[in-house]
Symmetry: C2
Subunit: 382 residues, 2 copies
């Protein structure tokens, strides 16, 4: 179902719940239109979903795009984006945009120098220049970019951090930083989401969520998961977080992920997801199908005239690009291979989420989840 997208101040509404698990169907409104949840948000790190022009992106059914504050602040700089009309005008994406705070990239990409109360002091991964990212600066950048959904700056932790380190990080850094972000929130119809941390300590996940829910955030993210923990730990942390978070606010699991992870998290009550894997893997020649991923470079596809997935409504499949042609493009290192596979994989993710939404409305989401995961795992990686 596609509904007419009406822009307005940020709002969130649960439309349906399902009896067999905690999954819920909901809808976001933002100053740049609405989005149906549970949703997968393609990642447009540098104000472009790699290999996918925005009109093709819209045709995949994608409704919200994530952009990376860290990358855009370094290049071209938020003032350039602002002077070119803000992110939506800059990248010609008229729909909702969520920006992360840049915290995760400071930890993962830059040379981190030190963290103190002020923020994170680091060196740019582009030119080594010294920079500081604190909560006020994170808000300033995201506000200038023109984001619809702004994320607080949090401190990122290794998932194996001990309880004491994790507690200190949450209550001495992330929580005060979150409150400082709230004070800089423009309150002009855009949303500000907090991020719950807690490594793999269930009690801390709960404590942090309880602290955050007392504050007037528009939504809550769950951070620091899908980074090496077991599936059981992953699900336990999400369940604990969702139990403590308010039912009337959206929940966003950051940086996740694979089909089973997303479907499991939806069952536990998560509404929003982002991940680079569907697009990154597409550029590396891995295409997603309901029966599992296929490797387009494999010789078995060389003379295969079938589309990636029969019945797939994406433009790559409906326009008749064959597996044989796609294999050729990847073998010849032609850009078009990445473009066509990206479109397919994004439409795959949106089909998956649309199926989830319909299953929730029909009251049998958990059966959908089990079926889809079983089918996805049924075939060895080809």
């Amino acid at each position: 179902m596609i509904i007419r997208s009406v822009p307005g101040p940020f709002a969130f509404e649960v439309i349906a719940t399902t009896g067999d698990c905690q999954a819920r169907r909901s809808r976001l409104r933002t100053p740049h239109g609405t989005a149906e949840l549970p949703a997968f948000m393609p990642v447009g790190t540098a104000a472009t979903v790699k290999g996918c022009p925005p009109d093709l992106l819209a045709k995949t059914g994608s409704e919200i795009v994530l952009c990376n504050t860290y990358h855009l602040a370094l290049r071209p700089g938020e003032s350039t984006v602002q002077s070119l009309g803000g992110l939506h005008q800059f990248m010609k994406w008229p729909g909702p945009i969520l920006t992360d705070s840049g915290g995760f990239q400071v930890w993962s990409l830059s040379s981190l120098v030190r963290i103190d109360e002020e923020g994170a002091h680091f060196r740019s991964h582009l030119d080594g220049s010294p920079l500081t990212l604190g909560p006020e600066r994170a808000m300033e950048i995201q506000t200038a970019l023109g984001s619809d959904i702004i994320m607080v700056l949090d401190e990122c932790l290794s998932h194996d951090s001990d309880e004491r380190t994790t507690r200190t990080s949450i209550f001495d850094r992330t929580l005060p930083w979150s409150e400082r972000c709230l004070r800089r929130h423009p309150r002009d119809g855009r949303a500000l989401f907090a991020i719950g941390q807690g490594a793999l300590h269930e009690s801390l996940r709960r404590e942090h969520a309880k602290s955050l829910r007392e504050l007037p955030f528009d939504g809550f993210a769950i951070g620091g998961l899908s980074v090496g923990e077991t599936g059981e730990e992953f699900r336990r942390m999400i369940a604990a977080s969702c139990e403590e978070l308010p039912a009337n606010k959206p929940r966003y699991l950051m940086g996740v992920g694979s089909l089973p992870e997303i479907l499991d998290a939806v069952a536990l009550g998560v509404d929003m997801f982002d991940c680079v894997l569907p697009t990154r893997n597409a550029r590396n020649g891995q295409a997603l199908t309901m029966n599992g991923p296929i490797r387009l470079r494999n010789r078995v596809h060389a003379q295969d005239n079938q589309p990636i997935e029969t019945g797939c409504p994406c433009s790559t499949c409906t326009e008749g690009f064959s597996r044989g042609y796609l294999r050729h493009l990847f073998m010849a290192k032609e850009m078009l291979g990445g473009i066509l596979a990206t479109v397919h994989n994004l439409q795959f993710m949106q089909r998956l989420m649309e199926g989830a939404r319909q299953a929730i409305s029909a009251g049998h989401y958990d059966a959908y989840r089990r079926e889809r995961i079983a089918a996805f795992r049924s075939t060895a990686d080809r």
Copy 2:
């Protein structure tokens, strides 16, 4: 003017000539539809115009695409293309396709071992495997690929070859090879074009053209130009060739080129062109405008909200992608930069050719040529 494309056996018709020079407006018919001439043919070396999905390519006004026999024979191999339905089905390009013979790539890309009567013996630039390309094999590959316009195998020569070397090459190799290609021509509605050579020897250019015109080729190419000769030499060789070629057959200047070269050659009676420059330069951040090329990486564009060229009907310009955004994409090495600039540059070439066709019909082509060249050279490269 866009006419309805009606497929049929190869045919060529001159529609208009212009009083002020030798330019002519004409139309080709091929088994995959018609094309208005003079035409610029984008190069789709490996069965894809780099960075340009076929639906976007069609929207640029491009009507014929050139594919490289050498590349496709090596990878994926013509039998694979054939088993996947032939080039049109393989690359989802429904319009006319011209294939070169592979001769030029054997000379320029491979390790050429030796040339004898049989053909060129060389080593693949991909894996070093020893291969032979003779006239029969060149015909076999192009026929299997499903080309609409097949090129004979010719011997390529350095433009500074002396008269004796050039004469031997033409009359001991290229002419006999061309006759052998004719004997293998499928004669099923597809065209076979000969290639005139002669280095920079006007008398040999004339002699070769005269020899070829006696044979039942469907069209005639001019090879071995725009490889380092002066502009005066370039124009003199083209004029000599066109004077000797029959008026009722199309003339194709291979691998050319720049705006001034193309417009000059049209004035001398050439109908068809191909060149990688508009697409290769696009991927390197050079965009074509009627006032000359611009370098999108230049800092001057950083905060420029204008399209590449105001009034340009290409999707990149009409959808509002700014020079500032394009500069950002190129600085960040994002694929979308190359995609958007490729679409613009191809539409630029088609706009240029459409202007040429209209000017011919209106009887003032030479004025059009002079104006366009002057405007293109008016502004220093930005």
